[in-house]
């Protein structure tokens, strides 16, 4: 009798543990799906997007809907998987779409040589707002549209400069 009692106690305990784990797992799944398909927050830092974004680090929200629908256009801030290192994501501004002619200074620090490039089919030309320190399409060329991960639309941190980004 005692053994049966013990067993049923264990069974109810195990059932409860299973239920709790299922809830946590479902929550994590929901989190993953919202993060990849709807909107996610990213910490952005570095000098390449001055004066739009700060050097010390801004938390921005990026939505993942419009790049799937092909709605990314000129002037949008985008998250792009870095062509040089696929584990990193960089934030830049779209300056040219496919077929556009883009003129840029090769090295604005030391010379004023200007070059013009045509963005090939299915590619975008991305550039940082701070042309002096940004590592962007001027170095690695146009990037395939498939590398775009999301469109940045809102800054949430620091709190005093909260607001929409773009244009």
């Amino acid at each position: 009798m005692g053994v049966l009692n013990y067993m049923s106690q264990w069974r109810s305990l195990a059932k409860e543990a299973m239920d709790r784990t299922a809830i946590v797992a479902k929550f994590l799944c929901l989190l993953h799906v919202t993060n990849t398909y709807v909107c996610s927050s990213t910490l952005v830092y570095g000098p390449s997007m001055l004066p739009t974004l700060n050097v010390t680090g801004d938390v921005v929200l990026a939505e993942h809907v419009s790049h799937r629908l092909g709605k990314v256009g000129l002037g949008d801030l985008v998250l792009v998987r870095s062509p040089g290192d696929p584990k990193k994501t960089v934030t830049k501004r779209v300056v040219g779409m496919e077929g556009d002619k883009v003129s840029f200074f090769v090295d604005p620090m030391s010379s004023d040589i200007c070059r013009t490039a045509v963005v090939p089919k299915g590619h975008v030309w991305i550039q940082g707002d701070n042309a002096y320190v940004s590592n962007d399409s001027r170095h690695f060329g146009p990037v395939p549209y498939g590398l775009i991960q999301g469109k940045v639309f809102l800054r949430v941190w620091p709190l005093d400069s909260i607001g929409f980004l773009g244009e």
């Binding site: 479902k26 993953h32 799906v33 290192d85 696929p86 584990k87 395939p144 498939g146």
Partner: protein, 150 residues
């Protein structure tokens, strides 16, 4: 009232199932259709972007992000590769790879569009699932005429 309850429960179940399915297909493995074949695509290699020579991968075409292609990785960053139909030898830049089809005579691959960024790779093909006469594992191999990348 009862039917409404049943409907609510059903929709809740479908929603949960969809969530779990989507997460699993994003982070573990998924089945994707390319042309006439169904293939099993493994995604765990995307965590560290670790690939080896001869892996068959799915990637979105650099010229049209909606198209998916399946090709074999011939060279990885830092390798030197000779371009077909021309005597040039070029180095694969950091974060890129060289992909080629198994049929060298008719394949739209890196010989025409150059090395592709690893970020475009969506997963590694492990098995063919459909059509049934070709079910089986996809092996890792390096075409003999490409030899060892040097």
């Amino acid at each position: 009232m009862a039917t409404r309850n049943v409907l609510w429960n059903y929709s809740k179940k479908i929603f949960t199932f969809g969530l779990i399915g989507l997460t699993a297909s994003d982070s573990l493995a998924s089945i994707s259709v390319v042309r006439d074949d169904c293939v099993l695509v493994e995604k765990t290699c995307l965590v560290k972007y670790k690939f080896s020579h001869g892996d068959v991968v799915v990637f979105s075409s650099p010229s049209n992000h909606k198209e998916k292609h399946i090709k074999r990785i011939i060279a990885l960053p830092g390798d030197w590769i000779g371009i077909r139909h021309c005597s040039d030898v070029r180095r694969i830049p950091e974060g890129h790879c060289w992909v080629e089809g198994d049929n060298p005579s008719s394949s739209m691959d890196s010989n025409s569009f150059g090395p592709i960024p690893l970020g475009l790779v969506k997963g590694r093909v492990t098995h063919i699932v459909w059509p049934p006469q070709r079910i089986g594992a996809v092996e890792k191999r390096i075409p003999s005429d490409r030899g060892q990348a040097f």
